[in-house]
């Protein structure tokens, strides 16, 4: 039996098949011993099918919308038809007389918006700052009745001047969204903004610093030293999250406790928020999310709809279900903010970067957090860097974190400019990146990907007279390694020998349920299917939120530690019963074997026969990385890991120069996520990231009517998303990158999978047609215009 003092372990470090070796580290007490590389393991690193696949495919998985409680009411929300209006009066008399109506709630504060710094909101209905802002909610005995009741509500509005165009919002004299300075706290998945920045009109900022270097060196000198300078301006559009499952909640307020079933990325954060906002202690709030149908950053917090449903439940004394429809989902649950960026890059003739400046304006509508991320400041080695990132407020719905906030937009700009530099230097884009990218992981990924892709066969573009041109492109991803230390997990071995894992962590579709089973199964000598995983419930030990590619890296070390402690106690008990030394016992195939009698197994339940206990269980927490965090988070709940996440994607596209149609033919994606736990699920998540990135590159676009300020494409017919026909051949290559930093060395891949795609496609389009598309999405209109092939008499009103 291991002693409880510090112990030294030789941990695997490096990339499997490339430079794998070991490093000795001193581990804290109670840490499990080093985990061998995946090739030596039975369950971890293997392609295990999702434990809940059958339930999901057959429809037996219970999502929030499937929850039905006795006496449950249905609620819906009245929303602002105007982008900027003062509510003069609300008359609910007629709605109250509707025989099926049980409660009405006037919403007093819109969540998701930036808040005036240090000033209390005036009492009464808030000024409505975007079309779709919530005004009031009704609960009735049926959805139909609730909708009828909403029609009976009379609201008198005073419409106010508005601005829904980012350039117009920046101008002096533009209608103001807020009449003073505002702030917005960060959410789990990103979003929000640095506090206390300067604000002039609708423009707030600049942000100049960040944990990733930020402004540094001497920019002027860097440009003076440059032998070549390239620059560019780039625009990206608003993308909506389009989770398959819209936001929904079932709120059950009772005198003893509040229970909330909700589609969320953060059960614990939600519990804490509700406890605070409704004046309850945390032990009287329970949040449950058995399954969450997609979450890309918009499912943090309870939002207007959640608070409304809970309030209605309290008023009506009955459970209330509130399901947003697709149009509400499009206008009122967040989006990826639009951006404008100007980059200027100086370099030596050999490619060495000497200076890089970034100026950006982004708009998250009435929210903050429209920056362009950490790509420009952190991907490549550049001693002289300066950035100014501004937020622009305007009367559109609040943006929020969305899959790799800022970095998708940032990569679209930087990776095109790096390619432009390579072109000017007459260097292959991969050769230039080899010279300026210090990441060994990405170096390996470039080499593997280029070989697999056939990069060497890249042809000169615009060859031949055929209308359809093809091109190759590459782009890279950077995402900080992030860890939540608020990540706990319980493992229970029950008297009948069955095993259960419990944590409040929620599975938003990535497969953490299966990953937890694998980690525990590996430690206890079981198969993943033999481990029952109970998650998504705040009655269990507090797990991490799901965002920022943090879930797997945060929770799996806790799970392994808990399983290890259970095993150790089981083995100790078995040793006692068998009169053996614990070191002579091994656990495999659900049995305990002694080296003395290697063919005679003792089932777990056999050990309990002589043990007067119902279970052996242990709760473990994540703690910091073995080598410490590079920098802890300000709230102390985790930190920045020393190792960041890379990823390189190669794209082949075709561009029809007569119709302007771009099609992606194939993508090769080479990614790292520390120690891969389940390659099947990782591959699936990377597929998702690529399709979402492709869709962002070519199709998705929130269209706001310039005259009314309303989004006009609020359904999934007119808001276009890549479908099966647009999905290219995708090949994922995973590298195993051991970092010797935790009990599992695992990391996430959700954001890296999405960062490089649009940039790789843009670089491939340039390779095909010889001109750069600097604005997204790359529609036929934009392609034809860029090719100088468009007749566009721009009519002015």
């Amino acid at each position: 039996m291991a002693s409880d003092s510090l112990h030294r372990e030789k941990l695997p470090l490096g990339i499997a098949g490339i430079d794998l070796h070991t490093i000795e580290r001193q581990l804290p007490a109670e840490e499990p011993p080093a985990l061998a590389p995946n090739s030596a393991l039975r369950v971890i690193g293997k392609a295990v099918s999702r434990l809940d696949a059958r339930a999901k495919v057959t429809g037996t998985a219970r999502f929030t919308a499937d929850v039905k409680l006795p006496g449950m009411l249905e609620a819906c929300i009245l929303r602002s038809p105007y982008p900027h209006a003062r509510v003069l009066s609300i008359d609910t008399t007629s709605a109250e007389h509707h025989p099926e109506v049980r409660a009405i709630h006037v919403i007093s504060r819109n969540r998701g918006e930036a808040q005036s710094s240090g000033r209390r909101a005036a009492p009464g209905p808030p000024t409505l700052l975007y079309a779709g802002a919530a005004i009031l909610a009704v609960a009735a005995t049926s959805r139909n009745a609730a909708e009828e009741a909403l029609k009976r509500v009379t609201v008198k509005y005073q419409t106010l001047p508005f601005v829904v165009d980012m350039e117009a919002a920046r101008k002096p004299g533009a209608p103001l969204v807020f009449d003073g300075a505002v702030d917005q706290a960060e959410t789990g998945g990103g979003g929000g903004a640095e506090t206390g920045l300067r604000q002039t009109g609708n423009v707030r900022g600049p942000q100049t610093d960040s944990p990733f270097g930020g402004t540094r060196g001497d920019l002027d000198r860097g440009f003076r030293d440059a032998e070549i300078v390239v620059s560019g301006e780039y625009r990206t559009q608003v993308q909506t999250h389009c989770c398959l499952e819209t936001h929904c909640i079932v709120a059950d307020w009772r005198t003893e406790a509040l229970t909330v079933y909700i589609s969320t990325q953060d059960t614990v954060g939600l519990r804490d928020e509700l406890a605070r906002d409704f004046g309850l202690s945390r032990n009287r709030v329970r949040v449950i999310s058995d399954f969450t149908g997609g979450g890309f950053g918009s499912k943090f917090g309870a939002g207007d709809y959640g608070h409304a449903a809970i309030t209605l439940s309290r008023k009506a004394g009955a459970p209330v279900r509130l399901i947003l429809d697709r149009a509400e989902e499009q206008v009122a649950t967040g989006n990826r903010p639009m951006t404008w960026q100007r980059l200027r890059l100086g370099a030596k003739r050999d490619g060495t970067l000497t200076a890089l400046s970034l100026l950006s304006y982004g708009s998250a509508g009435v929210a903050l957090g429209a920056g362009v991320g950490t790509i420009a400041q952190a991907m490549y080695t550049c001693p002289n860097f300066a950035m100014q990132q501004y937020d622009v407020l305007m009367h559109t719905s609040p943006g929020c974190a969305m899959r790799a906030p800022g970095n998708v937009q940032g990569a679209f700009a930087l990776e095109q400019l790096i390619d432009e530099l390579a072109e000017k230097l007459k260097l292959d884009p991969l050769v230039l990146r080899d010279r300026i990218d210090a990441s060994n992981v990405r170096r390996v990924e470039r080499r593997i990907g280029a070989e697999r892709f056939g990069w060497a066969s890249r042809k000169a573009h615009a060859a031949g007279a055929h209308a359809v041109k093809t091109g190759f492109g590459v782009a890279q991803s950077f995402w900080p390694g992030l860890v939540q230390s608020r990540a706990a997990c319980e493992v229970r071995l029950l008297r009948d020998g069955s095993v259960e894992v419990r944590s409040s962590v929620q599975d938003i579709g990535t497969g953490i349920r299966t990953v937890l089973a694998q980690v525990v199964a590996e430690e206890l000598g079981l198969s993943a299917k033999e481990v029952s995983v109970r998650i998504g419930d705040t009655d269990f030990p507090p797990g991490p939120f799901s965002g920022g590619s943090m879930t797997t890296g945060s929770i799996t070390p806790a799970a392994r530690k808990a399983a290890y402690r259970v095993r150790r106690r089981l083995v100790a008990e078995a040793a006692r019963q068998l009169g053996a030394e614990p070191e002579t016992l091994v656990v495999r195939d659900g049995q305990i074997f002694s080296s003395v009698e290697p063919t005679r197994g003792h089932f777990f339940r056999d050990i309990f026969r002589h043990l007067n206990r119902e279970e052996i269980s242990a709760v473990a927490h994540r703690d910091a990385d073995y080598d410490g965090f590079r920098m802890p988070f300000a709230d102390g709940d985790g930190g920045y890991a020393r190792e960041n996440l890379g990823g390189v994607q190669f794209a082949e596209v075709s561009v029809d120069t007569e119709t302007g149609i771009v099609r992606v033919r194939r993508i090769i994606a080479v990614h790292d996520c520390g120690r891969p736990i389940n390659p099947l699920q990782i591959e699936s998540q990377i597929h998702g990231g690529i399709v979402q990135g492709l869709s962002f590159a070519l199709f998705e676009n929130r269209v706001v009517d310039r005259h009314s300020g309303r989004m006009v494409n609020t359904n999934l017919e007119q808001y276009k998303i890549a479908g099966a026909s647009e999905v290219p051949e995708i090949e994922v290559i995973l590298i195993e990158n051991y970092t010797a930093c935790s009990a599992t060395d695992a990391a996430g891949v959700g954001e890296p999978a999405n960062i490089a795609t649009a940039a790789a496609i843009a670089n491939a389009v340039h390779d095909a047609i010889g001109v750069r598309i600097t604005e997204l999405p790359m529609t036929p209109s934009r392609i034809l215009a860029t090719l100088g092939n468009q007749q566009s008499p721009r009519l002015k009103q």
Binding site: D656, E726, L784, S792, L795
Partner: protein, 348 residues
Amino acid sequence: MNRFEWVETRSPLEAAGLTSATAAEAMTVLEGQPLPRDGSILKAGGIDLLDLMKEELIQPRRLVNLRGVPGLDAITEEGGGQASVGLRLGALVTLEQIAESVEVRKRYAALAEATQASGSPQIRHVATLGGNLLQRPRCWYFRSSFYHCLRKGGNRCYALFGENQYHAIFDNHTCAIVHPSTAATALVALDASIEIMDKTGVRRHARIEEFLVSPDTDVRRENSLKAGEIITAILLPQFPPAFRSAHVKQGEKDAFDWPLADVAVALELDPDHRCRRIAVVLGAAAPVPYRARAAEAILKDSILDEAAAARAAHDALDGATPLAENGYKVPLFEALIRRALMKASGLS
């Protein structure tokens, strides 16, 4: 969505008698007036009707389900037994039936290709040809209850100076919708007729070009069907052996998307490739399928080769009046017209 009564019917005559309004009539009200809620509306596949009801753009009291009416879901030869005089497509024939029909593919390729390119497999198995012709426009202003546009009885077109990237480039001075039916583009090129029965059992026929209504005639409807009438069939004329047709569609996406532009070409070529008959029709270009007369004039009685196709395609766009956001449609149509001509003539 409002509550409604569901009525099954077994005959076209009964169905015609049960309706009180066309969808267009049931959606048209003066500014500030509530939508009528007493209407009785015909439902075939229901694809478009359900969309309109979900958006609360139409609130019928009663739906008359046509799917149980026998005899309207078949593709048959006109003229019975003897030499065919054309093909008869029952109004309830689904888009999938048409796309899969050997006869349609052989004799009216443009229609098979147009239906094959519509919607998704799920939609094509439910959507009927009659319903497809009668569906309302997809303009996002028209489809939103926030905008009481000309077509719904209001007094302005919001698209003309609004967000109009998907709108018309011809005949767009009043209302800038594009006709929503891709099949209609092909049917105009194929000179199809619509067979209509009224509630007294009287049948009438209308050539499709006359059946479809432009905004200049009446901005509140896309066709001339009247309340109490029902489409029973779409008739395709018999063409000589040298007749060929083709349809090309370009959506932003390759499936489950509306066309940015689509073109149907029908022609008859002499052995020396001289064009004896020619129809060039543009879909998603105008409020009704747009007959590119300028292109037809160039090609009629001329040799159709690559150069002629290019010239015709170029001239077809003469007179286009693109709006602020849809100028790209001009070169797009030019490319598609050329490709459709090459495809129909077998040159490509």
